[in-house]
Structures are given as C-alpha cells and as structure tokens.
Symmetry: C2
Subunit: 336 residues, 2 copies
C-alpha cells in the first residue's frame, strides 16, 4: 500500500454539545507500513451514531474523549488488504474501531470481530447485525426483562437501535408502542417494524396517545431520548415497570446539567426500576446475540432500514444530521 493516500476525518475542535461539521477536518496522509501483528483494513462503511457526541465530549463519560487532532473514533466495516497477524488474511471481512478514515492500520485489539455472515450485506455488521442490534438485544432482554404480554414502549422507535428493540420485543411476545418524530418515521414503525401502535411525538398530545395505546400501563420503557418525552412516558408506568436508559439523545447538553421532573416518586409508587447500561460491558456475549440477530434477519423477522451517504466528505456533518433527525434508518458513510 506504499503511495496509497488515506483520507481521514480528524477532530479539529471540541464541540460545546452536538458535534458539527466544522468541528472536524479532512486530511490526507500516506498509509503507514504494517508493523508485526498489524493489519491493513480498507474501510467500506463508516458508522455514525448518537454515542459519538459522548466520545468527543470532555464531560465525564464511559470512555476517554477523542483527542484534538486524532482520527474520529468510529466503528467501521471493511476488508483486510494486508496482514502481519497470523489470525487475519487478505480478503477477511472485519468490523471494529477503525475510525473515520479510508484505510486503517490496526492491531488485533481494534477488531471487534470477523464477519462470518457472508450471506448478509457487510453494512449490517455496523447496524442491526452489529453494535445497534446487540445494544437492542441486551438492553431489552437483560435490562428490560420483558415477559410475554408486556407492553413495551420505545423512544426513537424507528432508529437503528429502537427499530430492533421493537421487533425483538414482538419476538418475545410483547405488545409494542413506538414513539418517533414525523409521519414518515411513524409510518415506518407501523409498516416496516411492525409496532402495534406508533405515536408521532411532534404532532398532538403524547400523553393522551400513550394513555390510549397503553391502557394497562407500560411494563418496559426502552429510553433512547431522555428529556421531555421520557418525562411523559414515566407517568404511564405500570407497577413493576423497567426503564432501560440506553441514551439521552433529546438532551443537547450536560453543561449546565439539565433539570426536569424528579423521577423518584414514579419509581417508588410503581415499584419501578430505571437502569443504565453500556453495551461494551456485554462484549463477551456479543456472539450469542449476533447469532440470533443474524438468524432473525434471515427469517425476515428482524427488518432494518439504512441511510447511506456516499463518500467520506459527508462524515463531518453526519452526527449533527442524526441529532436533527434527518436520517431514516441506520446512518452510514460508504467509502467509494
């Protein structure tokens, strides 16, 4: 790969809250030579996800912030071009923390997994058959603990994680109610993802719509948004409810720390539980989840939607677009 140029998206400045296009720069550099134990990956798809806001934030978080001048941290999926590691061969499909760049020279620790599901599109390894799918799987099943007949409510119900949560809850025998923004996403919830009910939080009265959709209360709330949507949802919990804190997408900044209605009394009166999780803690069990997710996809029981931008030049603005709700489906960047 001598003389191969590598385009990379680096963090130029630390955003106050949602990362914008001008917080990044695209630079070109030579692809470095492989050292012993390294592999060269040609990235085919770059992932864009809400958690990236946390990765570039200086506020306390579950991982070290990306440093200024560093390639933006990202999952990516691609093909091994060269290998100086005995476990990898040219042609292997891999997914891992390869960053927002066209080519990545990495050690084996950066590789999350080899993609063995050759019958599925490679891009799915970044979404429903990847980190989003396992997030939905463990968040719903381990933290939410749904039982057949439960009513499961999902915020950002048409999103990469939410859409999988809704469908896995259906597979688990639950009634599903999706909350999404705008008629297109609500239609997708009903028609593609099979929610029993879908609510457009941007139109009309969310509280009334929830009360109508969840006459026996909400047993599991899978919360991707936090904020005012969740404040309303919490008023409709059933006794013994489980609230899964997966993300806080609706809260644009944690500095100053946002205030809202206190949740303690809901939890007390409803004997309810609110629990956060970080998917990386489940890494030892990813293959268990991925095997089931892949089978559900093959069986047509787990459907997905992808929103693919062509070219790395779209990466810098893509996180902000996600927070504006512009994507329909898993946001990806394809490398030409």
């Amino acid at each position: 790969m001598k003389n191969n140029r590598n385009r990379q998206v680096i963090l130029k400045s630390r955003p106050a809250n949602i990362p914008q296009a001008d917080n990044f720069d695209i630079i070109e550099s030579d692809v470095s030579d492989l050292r012993d134990g390294q592999i060269l990956v040609h990235n085919r798809y770059l992932s864009v996800e809400p958690a990236m806001r946390g990765w570039v934030s200086s506020v306390a978080n579950y991982s070290e912030p990306v440093r200024i001048g560093e390639v933006m941290r990202s999952f990516a999926a691609g093909e091994v071009l060269q290998s100086a590691h005995p476990d990898f061969n040219p042609g292997d499909k891999v997914m891992g923390m390869f960053g927002w760049q066209e080519f990545a020279v990495v050690g084996p620790a950066a590789v999350s997994r080899k993609i063995r599901e050759d019958d599925l599109p490679l891009s799915l390894s970044l979404g429903v058959a990847g980190i989003n799918g396992v997030t939905a799987y463990f968040g719903l099943l381990d933290i939410g603990q749904p039982r057949p007949g439960d009513t499961v409510v999902v915020s950002t119900a048409a999103g990469a994680v939410g859409s999988a949560v809704g469908q896995i809850a259906k597979i688990a025998g639950c009634r599903t109610v999706g909350i999404a923004g705008g008629p297109a996403k609500v239609a997708q919830c009903r028609e593609l993802f099979g929610y029993d009910a879908a609510i457009d939080y941007k139109s009309g009265d969310l509280a009334s719509a929830l009360a109508a959709s969840c006459p026996n209360g909400i047993d599991v709330y899978f919360d991707n948004t936090g904020g005012t949507i969740s404040d309303i949802v919490l008023r409709h919990l059933a006794v013994g409810a489980r609230v899964v804190i997966c993300g806080t997408a609706s809260l644009s900044s944690w500095d100053p720390w946002p205030h809202g209605p206190r949740a303690e009394r809901h939890l007390l009166v409803k004997r309810a539980r609110m629990q956060g999780f970080v998917i990386f803690d489940y890494a030892p069990r990813f293959e268990e989840a991925l095997a089931r997710l892949a089978q559900w996809i093959r069986d047509g029981r787990l459907r997905y939607s992808e929103d693919i931008l062509e070219g790395i030049e779209h990466a810098p603005g893509a996180i902000a677009g996600l927070y504006r709700g512009e994507n329909t489906g898993k946001q990806l960047i394809r490398i030409r």
Copy 2:
C-alpha cells in the same frame, strides 16, 4: 368493653403537603361490640411514620387515601382484650393496622402478626423488629444487593429505617456512610449505629465530605430523602451502583411536581440502577426477615433508638415533627 370510651384521631381535612396537627381531630366514642370473627385490641403503642404523608394525600399513591372523618391509618401494637376469632385469645400480643386510637375492633385481616418475641419490648414490633426493620432488610438486601466490601451510603441514617439499613449493611460486610441532620444524629450514627463515617448535611459541604468518605465511589445508596441530598449523592456513584428509593422525605410536596437535575446520565455512564419498592409487596416474606432481625437485636448487633411521646393527644402533631427532624429514633405514641 361496654361503656368503655375510645379516643380516636380522625382525619379532619386533607393537607396540602405535610400533615399538621390541625388536619386531625380527637373524638371520643363507645367501643363497639364484637361481631363474629372480630377481636378487640387495646393499643399500647401507635406508630408515626413518614409514609403517613402519602396515606392522607389525594395524589396517586400505592394505597387508597384515608377518608375525611376516618380514623387515621396507622400501625399499632397492643394486647387482645376480647376475641370472637378462633385464632386469637385474650392476652395475645398483636401488631397491625389498628389506627390512631386507644381501642380497635378489627377482623383478622388488620392483624399483621402475633408478636411471639416475648423477650423483646413490644414497641420494637413497630420499629426495628417490625415494619421499619423489614423495610431496611428487604430494601437493602433485595433491591440494593450489597456485596462485602461495598460502600453503602444511607440518607436519614439515624432514622428508624436508616439506622437499621446501616447496621444490616455492616453485618453484610460493607463499609457504611451515614448522612444525617445535626450533630446529635451524626453522633448517634457513629456511636450507636456504628457507621464507619457520618456526615452532617446541614453543616459544610456534603459533596466534599462524600468524596472524602467514599474514595472508590458509592456502590449502594439507600435513599430515604430524595431531593438535593440525593442529587449530590448521585454524582458519586461507582460503576454498577444500586440506588434504593425507599422514601422522598425531603420533598415536601408533589403538587406541583418538583424538578431537579436529571438522573439519566448518571445511570447511563455508571451502568447504575435506581429502583423503588413498597414494603407491603414483601408481606409473604416478613417472618423470614423478622426472625433474623430479632436474633440480631438479641445478639446486640442491631441497635435501636426510640422517641416515645406519652398520650394519644400527641399523635396529631407527630408527623409534622418527624418531617422537621425533631425526633431522635423511631417515633411512637404510648397509650397510657
């Protein structure tokens, strides 16, 4: 008991938030005759507890509100004087929902239990060997799930529930840090209840004191207060922390609903859990807890403090006194 007069505390008006003395009236009436299946109990001790605020509130709660004109709902401990039920005999010691009155004519459903621990003071059946003890036992062990070596923080640490939580946590091999208001309660935490550290939230900087007392973060927070104390505690959670929502004593009203810093991000970043519970759900397991609590009391491992007011005329003002923090130890009314 014909011609016996019964003094009763009835709810006169519904309080806006904390029940005050003038929300109650003391009336006198005749003790009614026993119908088949009923017993006549001479109450010796009436209980006073923070949860009573909820019992007289019209706001959604886990039990029906006490009606205006009705005898105030309360646990009480006393002696059976007459019985028209085969399971009870005169002289039996009983504890149950007998209300704020001198004599109670009740059916067996009102009896929580017969007191068989004859070697322990009867008053303890309303406190550390009763509802407060089992609240501490199940709240800490079932919801908090402490592990040896964990740091356990308790708010209202010298209170009837909190003091038992701290001591059970010590028995479970934990480090205990108590939060209490004023030097007398803090001294009681250290000297009587054996907390490893005790913090006076009314003097100095709670955040710094917590950071110093919990250098590895807080694994279990047993929360009796809610509000600003808990807001500070949540900033010191360790990864995987469990927050037990037992009460919200520091929040004087839920109408309008109080606001505060949002907790979602703490739960997410720390993979933490917040869970409420209502002790009545554990009724089938009370005897399991009471047997252990009684043995710990006999062994001197579970110590207690009682604050006994003499005469039913003190009952109406006692809930407000509790919320002002005037009591030291379990608040009881002794019937002369």
